[in-house]
Symmetry: C2
Subunit: 345 residues, 2 copies
DNA sequence: AAATCTTTTGACAACGCTGTCAATTGAGTT
DNA sequence: AACTCAATTGACAGCGTTGTCAAAAGATTT
């Protein structure tokens, strides 16, 4: 039932509240002996500084906000994505006695920016971690920047809007995946693109093309199908590709959901994976390990990216000195069962 | 760049700050005309009350905390579960201008309760939504209750620890699923149990037994396999059941992950689902709709439960009058492709 | 021992709001 | 018109911190 305040601690330790404040905030110039005395009083009373009072009196709120595309706007919540980012931010918060407030943001909504403004005005967070695809929407970025709240963008591309941005090497790693498929003997490697709204999607497609070029293979429009990131569009794309006269021996998709769709399409046609067809995705969603065959894919280091972002916000002294440039956290190839040597190779 | 304060609004509207406060808090006894004037000033200045100041001055913090078992403690984050609860709480928060703070709690950790206490002391939330399985751990419940913070427990069972509890009818709905399988002609219906730590798991098992009894079918230990909620344990359980001399024609598992494992085991043996084997799970994770055949399962109304919980906390006037008893939100059977008539029926 | 400088400490005013309680206003009565 | 009572409004003191600035205490130099 404790609700010890700084006054209680000061009284018990026989010092002024200001000195207690100094100890709590790890300030310089407190005699070792008094610091000890205060520390003892703090733990005896189980004192914890009230966040609201701190926030009100100082410029730091000890609050980080994670803003991400509202998953409830989709039929199937792509929860894994969000959870992993949350975990990353929470790791950084936990290490620094910060708390995390979450704010799904539906950018399709007219009042999305109003809500962001309201949030910022009301809670005055020390920083905002802005997830993709919002991090690539000028309207959203501007809404936050206008308020002057420190922000870190999580982005799959290299582009930088002036704020500190944590990125992955989507393009490079997709080229790597493509080269890997080539190294298995595949010559006809198809690609299913995703929803062009996501910047990442283009980077991945570029990476696919880079990989072909680097391997000396020709790029062919016939082997590219437009999907929209959904399982269903992957299934449709797979159907379309596999019904060609000269079907591809490998299909690389811009995300795992679509890869799962491709696998289902192949399943229904009795096509063996990876014997007759190799399939690779992107994301490493939980499903990737659970389907049969398990899916070769690319894992975005979402949780590390979010952690790096939150750390930067927390450790910034307030002048933005830690919030400059770009930090690259590399993605990783996850080779599993769905890819294998090209048939007859 | 707005940072209008209540003083600015008061000045512009030509009233005292107290009157502005009254308007903001929708108090009675403000003349219509002054209310209008204040409202106009508020929207002109884009004023939003500072949350910390409110929190400090009043007993309400406009903050809800969602506490759940730390999913990062597992290998495969069971994110869907958490996301859905978050969505429910957020719905209630959005409707009432509340913010959501999330707090994963690793109960295996010695200092889990300390962290909870720290959180409560620091942010003084208006309420805590406590998710299962934490909601059934006396140590955790007590840690929160000791601080006097209003709390609502989300629980799969009927038990009630003295706090307001939002529950599902796990047991009843599992009996219903069992009866449904019987109605399809199945006589040998196996069951894969989950990790006994979760109270829900026992309720589900009881429901399975209830269903058998209600259908006049005998219960047999031979048809029960112990799993641990993981995909792998489901696969192992499936293998074991399907290698019996007289294998079951239907397998009901305590969660979807294990059901997916069973399906994989059947796949590998070339057993057709639902032709030769019906499989039913519990949870309705995203995977359930994505695998082939799609999974018949039971959907917990997690998001509604969380919403009901948060609403109760938000609407409680502070005397706990809204925080009594138990509220049941029924779960729902999701009949899909993985169940069908018993072979030869 | 006095003078100077540095380190350590404390008094007190914010921070932006709500609660309390008293003052003012307006309506209804006599 | 004076009086009563309810509705409306405002003054002011907190809420628990931190920032500012000055005072006190030590350390160093002369």
């Amino acid at each position: 039932m404790s609700k010890a305040t700084i006054d209680d601690v000061a009284r018990l330790a026989g010092v002024s509240i200001k000195t207690v404040s100094r100890v709590v905030n790890r300030e310089q110039n407190v005699r070792e002996s008094t610091r000890d005395r205060v520390q003892r009083a703090i733990s005896e009373l189980n004192y914890r500084p009230n966040l609201s009072a701190r926030n009100l009196a100082s410029l730091r709120s000890h609050l980080i906000v994670l803003v991400y595309d509202d998953p409830s706007a989709y039929e199937i919540p792509s929860g894994g994505y969000v959870i992993r980012m949350q975990q990353g931010v929470l790791r950084a918060c936990g290490a620094a006695d910060y708390e995390l407030l979450i704010h799904p943001c539906n950018y399709r909504n007219r009042n999305a920016t109003d809500k962001l403004h309201a949030l910022i005005d009301q809670v005055r967070p020390d920083g905002i971690v802005l997830a993709a695809p919002l991090s690539n929407m000028p309207r959203i970025v501007k809404a936050i920047a206008d308020k002057g709240t420190p922000m870190v963008r999580l982005s799959p591309g290299k582009e930088n809007g002036g704020q500190f941005t944590v990125v992955t090497n989507d393009r490079e790693v997709c080229a790597e995946m493509t080269r890997y498929l080539v190294s298995l003997g595949h010559k006809r490697i198809a690609y299913v693109t995703g929803h062009p709204r996501h910047k990442a999607i283009n980077n991945r497609f570029q990476g696919y093309k880079d990989g072909l070029k680097q391997s000396g293979l020709p790029f062919s429009e016939d082997l590219v199908i437009a999907g929209d990131n959904s399982f269903n569009s992957g299934e449709a794309g797979g159907d379309s590709l596999l019904s060609q006269e000269n079907p591809p021996t490998a299909i690389f998709t811009a995300n795992d959901d679509m890869a799962a769709g491709v696998i289902r399409a192949a399943d229904r046609r009795g096509i063996d994976i990876p014997g007759q067809l190799s399939v690779a995705g992107f994301d490493d969603i939980a499903l990737a390990r659970q389907i049969y065959p398990s899916l070769t894919t690319i894992r975005q280091p979402l949780s590390q990216m979010a952690e790096v972002a939150a750390e930067a916000l927390i450790s910034d002294p307030g002048d933005g000195s830690k919030l400059k440039g770009t930090s690259v956290v590399p993605a990783q190839l996850m080779i599993r069962e769905s890819t294998g040597p090209a048939p007859g190779d």
